[in-house]
Each structure stands twice: as C-alpha cells, then as structure tokens.
Amino acid sequence: MKQLLHARWIIAWTVLWTGAGTAFCAPLPTSTPVDSATLASPSEGVFGFMGGITHSSYLFGDLWGLRPWLNHYGISLSIQETSEVLGNATGGLQQGADYEGLTTGDLQLDTGGAFGLPGGTLNVSGLFIHGTNLSAQNLDDLQTASGIEADDGVRVWEVWYDQKFYDSYGTSPVDIKIGQESLDQEFMISTNALYFVNTMFGWPMVPSADLPGGGPAYPLSALGARLQWKPANALKILAGVFNGSPAPTSGDDPQQADEYGLSFPLNGGLLAIAELQFTYPALGDLAVSSTPLSGTYRLGFWYDSENFADERYDDEGLSLANPTSDGNPQLHPGDYSVYGVVDQKLWISKKDTNRSLSFFARAMWAPEDRNLIDFSANAGFVLKDPFAYRTDDILGIGMGYAHVSSAVAGLAADTALYNPGTFSPQPSGETMIEATYQLFVFPWFTLQPDAQYVFNPGGGIANPDAPGQLLGDELVLGIRGTIVF
C-alpha cells in the first residue's frame, strides 16, 4: 500500500512539473538581434489580394497600392457595385424579371491630412447606373421595388465640402456642409429601414412623390448648405436650405433634364428642411442597465417655396376633368410636410449580445390639395444575428403605405363624371410588405434574397391591358448582391 501511495506521489509530481508547470521546463525566450536596415516588406504581387480575400474589407485589397498612395495625400477611395435581379411573378403591367445595377464611386479628401486644415472634408461621388427599371417596365406602383432604380447613365452625384468647428475643449459641436447634396444621406433616415430593398425604406414616399423632381435624393442632388449642431450629446439639429428643385427645368424627367448631374441649377425656389434628433445612449451617459436598449427619435419639417399645382382644380376653381376647364391648375404658393422617425431596440439576447431585435417606424404628412401623396409610412422589425454565429446577417420584415390624396381621388371621380363610360377608378392607398435577408458572405460581399408583395398597386389604378380592371397585386422576388472593391 505504501508503495502504491509512493507511486501516486511520483505520478502527481511528474504531472505537476510537466503539465501545469510549463514555465519551469520551458526554455527562456530566445532574443534574436535584428538589423532593421536589412528588412523590407516583400511585394504582394498582382494577386496578393487573394491571400486575404475571405476576410478583407475590399475585394481587391489595397488596389495594387492605389489606396495607400491616395491615403498619403489624405484621400480615401470607395467603389461599390450593387447588382440585382428582381421580377414580378404576379400582377402589374406584365410579368417578368429584370437586371438592375449601380456602381458608386466616392472620393473624400481630409483637409487635415492633405494640407493641415483640421476638420475639413471634400467629397465627390459619382454613379454608373445600368440595367432595366422593373418598376417602370412591369409594376407601375408607387413604392418602387428597388432603391437603386434610376435612368441608365453616368452622373455626378454629390459634390460638397464639410467643415467642423471646434470649441475650447476640442470637440466639434457644429459643422457646416456646402455644395451639391443628396438629402437622403442625412435627412428622414431610419437606420433599420436602410437594410431593405424597396425604395421607400430609404427616401420616403411623400417627398419622392411631392417635391419637384422627387427632391434632392438619389440619383439627384441640389446645391445648398446645411448646419449640424449638437447642443447636447443626446441631441442633434440638422437644418439646411437648398435649391427648390434638383432639376434645371420643371415638367421634364428630372434625370433627363440634368443628364450628367453637372447642371448645378439655382433657378428653383427654396427648399428649407430641419430635423431634431434624440439618441439614447449618448456619449457620456452613465449606464444604468446591463443590456442597453438603444433608440433614436427624429422629428422633422420641410418647406419648398416653389409653386405647386392643385391636383384637382384649375385656376378658375373648375375641376381639371371638366371639359370647360382651361387646363391650367390652380397654383399653391409652397408645399410643406412634417415627419417623425423611430428606431428602437426591443431586445438583446443575453446569451449572444450580437443578437438583437429592433423596431422602426416612420410617418409623414403633407397637404392633400397640392400633392399626389398626402401620407406615407414605413414600419418593421429587424433581427440581427438571426442564427447561431451569423453575427453580421440580418433578417428584416417591413411594410410601407402610401395614401393617395383625396384631391387625386376627386379628380378621378370627376373624370368618371365628365366621361361616362370611362373606367376611372378612385385611387386610395397602396400597401407593400417586404421580407429580406442580408447574408454576409465576406466583408466585401453580401447577398440579399428579397420578397415583396404590393397590395393595390398605384393605390388602385386602371390596368391598361385589361379594360375595366385594376392593376393586379404584385409578388416581387429577387436577389441583390453588393461588392466593395
């Protein structure tokens, strides 16, 4: 028995000295002198980017040295391709699928890095839009199916300079941006809604339908200036004035009227817009919860001083459908809208804090007499990290609603009244729902299968190919891919 105990002690000590006691046995680290003058970074070669292709943020890495070369001068370059195939299986003008693509290039110069002026950013971006527009060809709906849909072409998008102003502590509560700006990049944004494909989760229905040229939003922009002021860490005020229309002429297709985005028109009225944002948590907030449910709330207002045509009556007060009308619509001085946006986290998984459920809602109103759409709304839920260890994937379910103003419906009723026998349905509202999944393949590559269903397309409009019938409800299916070069 004693021998057995003795053997156990030997075994125990052996384990202790060879296992847990690595330090006792392991040799000291070797110190190797290095002559740094003899060292040089090897060339990565033409295909060097392949080495990190599964985890690089860019498909082509440093673009064969272009990115670091530009970085030396304070310039950053971003090139991204969004390509998609969307098709409608039911409803609309016709069924079928189309390809649509968008290449975005963006150059930013940091004036601090370039020539020592702190807080300045010069930005120039351009678009190459290619493919076919499904919503125009097949759907004829209000809430167009894809946020990248636009006329084919190459155009300058944004050209602006932003300057930060610093307080005595060195923080920058104020910055001013001047130049050609696209307002969908800063105003009316719901961060959760941006994951969806349908256009109206980005730049919403009310300004798209009601502002001249659809407003200064993709693929358009307008000259102006905007102030950003943070009176407190939780509060931000955005306010800007811009040319009243992104197009140099009214009435025409605004994209055709400014084919390359180089017209820089200043002949419109004035578009003034302001937005108040409240965010929780804010920088410097003391934390009171182990699982913070963050949120951002936005309230905004815009006013455009251009003249807006009445949707129903002429300048004599007659219906525009009245055969005796002179056809000149009554003009209203100015148009305006108020809006609110909510992004609120509802739940964070305790087991995996990357997994969270968020809610978003956005609603806006505009007067009914001078606008096609007098109310629009979006709402939905976004689940991040929906499956185990799919940290960067996103599952979203959302809806959009666009209400056609009673003036437009009234004109349709008048048309029916003055043209007996003509099928002139009174449009009401269009509702769409979308389910989407953003699949993170590589940091530079995402795939996004998408499904949308549109109830009452156009708010209930006549189908030109089926006399006496409305456009049928539309099921839109497709997939989007995004590549960062």
Binding site: A26, L28, G52, V288
Partner: protein
C-alpha cells in the same frame, strides 16, 4: 490611499464574514445600478464621474493605411523621438482591414497635438514567422525601449495565426531584437510592468496556444469552442545601460484562461492587465468569461495561480478588454461588446459606474467592437482610448 485599498483587499479574501458583508454590499450596489434611472454613482464618486468632454484628438491611420488601433501607452520618459507624456498607439490591421497584419505605431504629442508615425515594421520578419500584427501588448520602459507584441495572421483570422513574438524597438522606432519561445504565443493584452530602470518585470497575457480558425465551431453550441490554455507570463528583464533588455527569467503565473477564435473580433482571451499600487495583486480581464480576476503576489510567486480569484463578473461588464487603474485605485476597463468603460472597486468587486464613451449606433449594441486599449495621462485626470470604428485616438477630459 491606494495602498490601503490593496491591503484591505487582501484581508477581505481571508476574512469570511467581511467578504460576505462586502459581497452583500456589492449586490445591493449593483442592484441599485441596474434599477435606478439616472444613477450617478456612489457618494464620493469615481473617475468616470469626473470626465465630461470627449475629444477626437488624432487619426491613428498612418500613410500605409493600417487601421484598427489597439494598444494605448503613455510614455513614462523622454527618449529618442518620444517625449514624456506622448501617447503611443499601435495598429492591429493592415489597410485591407485584415486582422493580425498591422505593422505601425503612432505617436501623439499632447503638447503640440501632432501625430506622427513612430515605427513601421516590415510585413515579414524572418525571426517572427507568419508576419506582423501588433497587439495591445505594448509598453515603454524608463530606459526608453519599447516592447510590443505580435499575433500575426495572413488571412485576417486565427486560421493562420502564428505564435508571434515580442519586438524590442529603440526610442527612435528601430527594431533591434525579437523574442520568441514556447511560452510566447499570441501576446495579447495590455502589459503590466514593474520598472526599476536597470531591471523590470513584464506581465503579458498569451492568448494563442492551439486556438483554431474561426470557422471551427462546436456542434453543440454552433459557436467556436472555448479553450482554456491562455496564460499570464511574467518575464524578468535585465537592462544593461545602453543595451537592449534581455529576458533573464520567466514564470507562468496564470494559466487556464478562456480563449476562443471569433470571425469578427479575431481572438478573445485575457486582455487587460494592471497591478495594484503595492504590486501585490495583478488584475486580469478574463474577457471570454466576462469577468475580472486577481492573481496574488504576481512579482514573487513561482507557480501558476490558475485564473486567480474572481473580483467581479457580468453586470455592466461586456467582454472586458484593456484595463488601467485610476488614482483612487479603482479598475477602469473598456468593454469589447459595447461602447462603455466600467469602473470597478477592486476591494469590494463593486461595479461603481459605467459610462458610454463610444455610443456609435452603427453597431449593436452601440459601440460593439469599437473599444480596445486605454490609458490615463500622467496626472491621472485624462483618459486616452481608441475607437476602432473611426480609427481615432480619443481623449476624455474633466
């Protein structure tokens, strides 16, 4: 003042009743933190209550485009290109955002508000196989030498993780020697140092040791497996005048720390190391276990304490990373999984307060993955930290 904290801390370990009482007090305090809206910290306050302004002081991107700043070190002396009080920041990622490929160290000078490149290492160094990926394991000695760890990868993940090494640079940013050996494997967390001028002790966490690639998952959980092979290594250095430091002794004083690969965060393991003012206790953030632990007698023990004893766990902590100590003797740690800094009384384990120092809504929860290194200014009044999302060095001031 600081000394008393640690002495009482040691007593609390030995006195069961006191420990129970303090545990109950910490529960009550933590409970108050969790339920009281507008909670402003305990009477007497802590460091976090004293800071009110958050200034972006410098971009941490050098000409070569390296990103993802990790280590933050305040220079203790002037030597070579470095002035006392300068803030050294290294980058873990190369320009393509591949983790474990960053080769640069920046130097921010608060007096002039200028930022310059202190060192650019080659992407490949034969003495340190695989490559170069500079980590949070960085320090500057009073003798002017800068020592920085490397946990290199070639594809941006732990699939190609090399054991790495420790680099020794002179105060002009020139690489002079490389330390490698079986106890050095992905030197990871911010170093704790006892610096006597001609000799020094370094305390470094090693988070490598067989960590697989991030695509290897445990079929039961669907997540990468958690290993328990990470260590805390003590290196004893001899620093002859005018000569680079040499390792003369080593001891693994902590072992069995949790570590795992992650496709977003690269590697999760023990990351923050700080000594009590009397040097009798080493505090370590055990990130993968969401806790802070304490190892006693770190400078003198000749064995491993395992992972030590738990000081605080969960609560406001969310994957705690780099750690430092306030003048009051509180632990200050930044979260990896949200944008908060958390202040902890090491004596009681009470989580005194947490403050949002990066509430970026682009991540979920806000600031998730943005924070890493942090350090206090010499006067102990200003906090330097990095924001990985914007690649900036921040300064939080009263």
């Amino acid at each position: 003042m600081n000394r008393r904290h640690t002495i009482r801390n040691k007593k609390s370990v030995r006195n069961g009743n006191m420990q129970l009482a303090r545990f109950a007090a910490s529960i009550l305090l933590t409970g108050a933190l969790l339920v009281a809206p507008g909670f402003a910290g305990p009477a007497g306050g802590g460091f976090l209550e004293t800071i009110h302004h958050y200034v972006s002081v410098a971009s941490t991107i050098p000409d070569n485009g390296d990103v993802n700043p990790y280590a933050v070190v305040v220079a203790p002396v002037s030597a070579g290109a470095i002035r006392r009080g300068d803030v050294l920041v290294d980058n873990f990622n190369g320009m393509s955002n591949l983790q474990g490929t960053g080769t640069t160290i920046m130097d921010y000078r608060p007096s002039t508000k200028e930022v310059n490149v202190f060192a650019v290492l080659p992407r490949r160094i034969p003495q340190c196989p695989v490559g170069v990926g500079l980590t949070t394991a960085m320090t500057m000695l009073k003798s002017g030498w800068v020592i920085v760890g490397s946990a290199p990868s070639t594809d941006g993940t732990t699939k190609t993780l090399g054991a790495g090494c420790l680099f020794v640079l002179d105060p002009n940013g020139r690489l002079v020697s490389v330390w490698t050996g079986p106890t050095i494997d992905a030197p990871w967390g911010n170093m704790a140092v006892i610096d006597n001028g001609d000799s020094a002790y370094l305390f470094i966490s090693m988070a490598g040791f067989d960590v697989p690639g991030p695509d290897v998952v445990d079929p039961k959980t669907g997540y990468p497996p958690i290993l328990h092979k990470a260590t805390v290594l003590r290196l004893k250095l001899s620093i002859p005048a005018g000569q680079p430091p040499e390792v003369v002794d080593q001891t693994v004083i902590g072992s069995g720390f949790a570590q795992r690969a992650d496709k977003d965060s690269f590697l999760v393991g023990p990351t923050g190391l700080v000594l009590s003012p009397d040097g009798q206790t080493l505090y370590v953030t055990d990130s993968a276990a969401n806790q802070i632990v304490a190892i006693s007698d770190p400078a003198t023990r000749d064995d491993s304490a395992g992972i030590g004893r738990v000081v605080t766990h969960g609560g406001l902590l969310a994957g705690p990373l780099a750690m430092t100590m306030t003048p009051e003797g509180h632990l200050l740690v930044c979260n990896g999984k949200d944008g908060r800094a958390v202040e902890v009384d090491p004596e009681t384990g009470a989580q005194l307060a947490a403050k949002w120092i990066d509430p970026d809504e682009a991540q979920s929860p806000p600031g998730n993955g943005d924070l890493f290194g942090l350090a206090l200014s010499e006067d102990g009044k200003r906090l330097y930290y990095v924001q990985d999302d914007t690649n900036t060095l921040m300064e939080a001031v009263p």
